[in-house]
């Protein structure tokens, strides 16, 4: 029973992860790369290094995350380690939800 419960939890977690990642990916693709082509963005791509976002763009992303995921991004959390790629954002949201 324990292993079935663990499997269900893992699967829910994976689903959440996938849907968070897809939501963020699609948001970035649609609003900053202006394309639906999934190959235009790797989830590990740095938004700043690749010129995907400028510093006002990151403010828009923060508004979006707060709106979409019901979180509050503190000033001290506005760092590239949390927000500079799809992967970083997914991990950041995961931490915020814990």
């Amino acid at each position: 029973m324990a292993s079935i419960s663990l499997t269900i939890k893992l699967s829910e977690h994976l689903e959440n992860f996938m849907s968070t990642e897809a939501t963020i990916r699609n948001y970035i693709l649609e609003n900053y790369l202006f394309t639906e082509d999934q190959s235009a963005l790797d989830s590990a791509d740095s938004f700043l290094d690749k010129g995907i976002l400028d510093s006002t763009g990151i403010l828009e992303v923060i508004y979006f995350l707060e709106d979409e995921f019901g979180i509050k991004v503190e000033d001290t959390e506005m760092v590239p380690e949390n927000l500079d790629s799809v992967n970083n954002i997914v991990a950041f949201i995961g931490r915020k939800r814990q």
Partner: protein, 644 residues
């Protein structure tokens, strides 16, 4: 102020006809609604549309010398014509008018091509010397008055505006994609480019001379700075005294007119300086005009009111709504004849309309003070970035960035570590003369992502070093602030502020703008100021503020600069619905037909802007840049007839 046009046969051919000239000059009727004049002879034709300001009865052009061998048409003003007339009469010249135009032909007789060195003014001149069969086109030092040329079919065509050239059937119409990329980098095309293939600009401070069918271009003036500051020991009081005397004289000269002169009043330092000098040092009745916005982020009405109360001026205030900008934008682009990345020229066109309605033809405006005296945020930003670069690992040095842009609702300095990354862009190019401009140009170039595959394939992408084409060899030896000033003066000022946001939207309503800060004596004086007297710490235009102590309200003298801006993409939607012409021009079908952009990406941008989600500069500049270029395509390429 006027419009000019003309044709020169570069080799034997059919002489330019009166009807050809009429077609061209009628297209700029708005520049000169008070009458037309023509000169046709053998291989040359000159045309003039007049806005009468000096010598109302006798100043009709073309104007000639004593034996009529030299003919001139001219758009602009020669402010020192009174002194020049006295001097030329002493040299034996006979004048048949009281106009400023006539000094040009007599100066030419005295000094040949050097005549232009004697002019203090703003001008685009076409002078024909029939004896030498020589045409001279001359443009003022800083590019206040426009002048375009096209060479085709063995002829040189020239005019104040592109629409005059396009009125002639021989001139091809096509957008130059390299020039469009320049707008989407530097905010302006770089000389000699206009936005159109085959149409070139006579660059500011240049003469174009065509003699015996051979064309040569030469520079007679440039913004230049000493390698070492001239006098480091002169006191602030001494500098201030000299500057005050010079500014009073510049304003006095620029008030010369046979019609009443008004002044723009923005609520900032520069227009406050001008209005207070008019009030305190001349007997010209002060009449002022200002623009305000419903959006608090852009509005400066409070400061404008402070100054109106302080000076007791007869004042007109125009309130500009977002919908006014959306509605007027197509007319603005019909006058700018270029793509633009901001809507800011639009309210100024509405303001010049109010000036016209009040019965005025001439206004003084504060443009140029930021370039001359060191007023721009970009100069301060570069100062901080250079300071930071001395210790790149410092945690506290970049914190000073937070003092920049306090007036922005969505400031690039508020996103903590991201701001640092943003302003770190181009740090490796510290030695480049365009170091200061890299963050701005990088943000603007984001528009390029909307280009279609066909457009990308058609032209080579331009890099920042395209600017090197217009930079002088000695720039590397100048102080860093002077380098920043030079680039700003030769891109944003001449190519955008004085044209799209200056001459073109003023002349749309037959209004002449005058720019006392751009008197070349003021520019040359300020060039010798030590950099610390331009920006003291992060206090911009320090010397100008010191000079005006006691002459303007302290609230205005001590306020931080707020650049003039206007609402951008949100002006083009009613709720989430785009205005009809916007929906048409940005539709997939129309975008595909024009070929410059990818219809799908433009559609996504349109949707984002419609939802009000375009908060930053990049999206707003992309939206305005794409829409304005599509309007250029519609008005100048697609439609055969042009609004005149």
């Amino acid at each position: 102020m006027c419009g000019i046009a003309g044709i020169l046969n570069l080799k034997d051919g059919t002489p330019p006809s009166r009807s050809e000239l009429e077609g061209m000059i009628h297209a700029v009727h708005h520049r000169g609604p008070d009458g037309y004049g023509y000169y046709c002879h053998d291989r040359v034709g000159l045309a003039h549309a007049r806005l009468s300001i000096i010598d109302l009865a006798g100043g009709d052009q073309p104007i000639h010398n004593e034996d009529q061998s030299v003919q001139v048409v001219f758009n602009g003003e020669i402010f020192n014509y009174v002194e020049l007339t006295v001097q030329l009469k002493q040299q034996g010249h006979r004048f048949y008018t009281h106009s400023d135009t006539e000094v040009i032909v007599h100066l030419y007789e005295e000094y040949a091509e050097k005549f232009v060195d004697h002019l203090n003014g703003q001008f685009a001149i076409a002078l024909w010397d029939s004896t030498r069969q020589k045409l001279i086109l001359a443009r003022d030092r800083t590019g206040i008055r426009p002048l375009f040329t096209v060479e085709t079919g063995g002829r040189l065509y020239f005019a104040s505006e592109v629409k005059s050239l396009f009125a002639h059937p021989a001139i091809p119409r096509q957008i130059n994609l390299t020039a469009l990329q320049e707008v989407f980098t530097f905010w302006t095309t770089l000389p000699p480019h206009s936005l159109f293939e085959s149409v070139e600009v006579v660059p500011p401070g240049h003469l174009m001379v065509i003699e015996n069918g051979v064309k040569r271009l030469s520079r007679y003036w440039d913004w230049t700075y000493p390698n070492e500051q001239i006098d480091q020991h002169k006191s602030v009081a001494e500098w201030s005294e000299e500057l005050k005397a010079l500014m009073i004289d510049s304003v006095r000269l620029q008030l010369r007119s046979d019609v009443p002169v008004g002044a723009y009043l923005s609520g900032g330092l520069d227009s406050s300086v001008l209005t207070s000098l008019i009030k305190n040092f001349t007997d010209t009745p002060l009449r002022t005009f200002s623009i305000g916005f419903e959006d608090e982020e852009f509005d400066e009405s409070g400061f404008q009111k402070d100054l109106v109360d302080y000076l007791g001026t007869n004042h007109t205030h125009v309130l500009c709504k977002r919908s006014d900008i959306g509605t007027a934008f197509p007319r603005v682009i019909s006058h700018t004849e270029s793509a633009i990345v901001r809507t800011a020229p639009t309210p100024l066109m509405l303001l010049s309309g109010a000036v016209r309605e009040a019965g005025y033809k001439v206004v003084l405006t504060g443009e140029g003070a930021d370039e001359v005296f060191g007023g721009y945020d970009i100069f301060k930003e570069a100062k901080v970035r250079r300071f930071w670069s001395h210790a790149p690992d410092s945690e506290w040095r970049p914190l000073i960035l937070q003092r920049l842009y306090p007036y922005l609702k969505h400031s690039p300095t508020t996103s903590g570590a991201f701001s640092k990354r943003f302003f770190q862009q181009g740090m490796e190019h510290l030695d480049k003369p365009y170091f200061a401009h890299i963050p701005r140009w990088a943000t603007t170039q984001r528009i390029m992502q909307f280009f279609s595959d066909e457009a990308r394939a058609a032209v080579k992408p331009i890099a920042f070093d395209a600017i090197n084409r217009i930079l002088p060899a000695e720039i590397d030896a100048w102080k860093s602030l002077n380098r920043d000033q030079y680039i700003e003066a030769n891109t944003l000022l001449s190519g955008y502020l004085l044209s799209s946001q200056g001459d073109r939207v003023a002349m749309a309503n037959s209004i002449e703008g005058r720019y006392p800060f751009l008197d070349h004596r003021v520019i040359e004086f300020a060039a010798t100021l030590p950099s610390r007297y331009k920006i003291m710490g992060l206090n911009e235009k320090y010397m100008l503020k010191q000079t005006m102590q006691g002459l303007i309200p302290e609230s205005i003298r001590n306020r931080s600069k707020q650049p003039y801006r206007a609402p951008d993409s949100q002006s083009f939607f009613d709720g989430e619905t785009p205005l009809e012409y916007v929906a048409y021009l940005l539709s997939e079908e129309r975008i595909r037909k024009a070929g410059y952009y990818n219809p799908k990406t433009v559609n996504l941008l349109l949707k984002k802007c419609a939802r009000g989600k375009a908060l930053g500069f990049a999206d707003n500049m992309a939206f305005v840049g794409i829409l304005s270029s599509m309007l250029v395509d519609e008005l100048f390429i697609e439609q055969a007839t042009i609004e005149s």
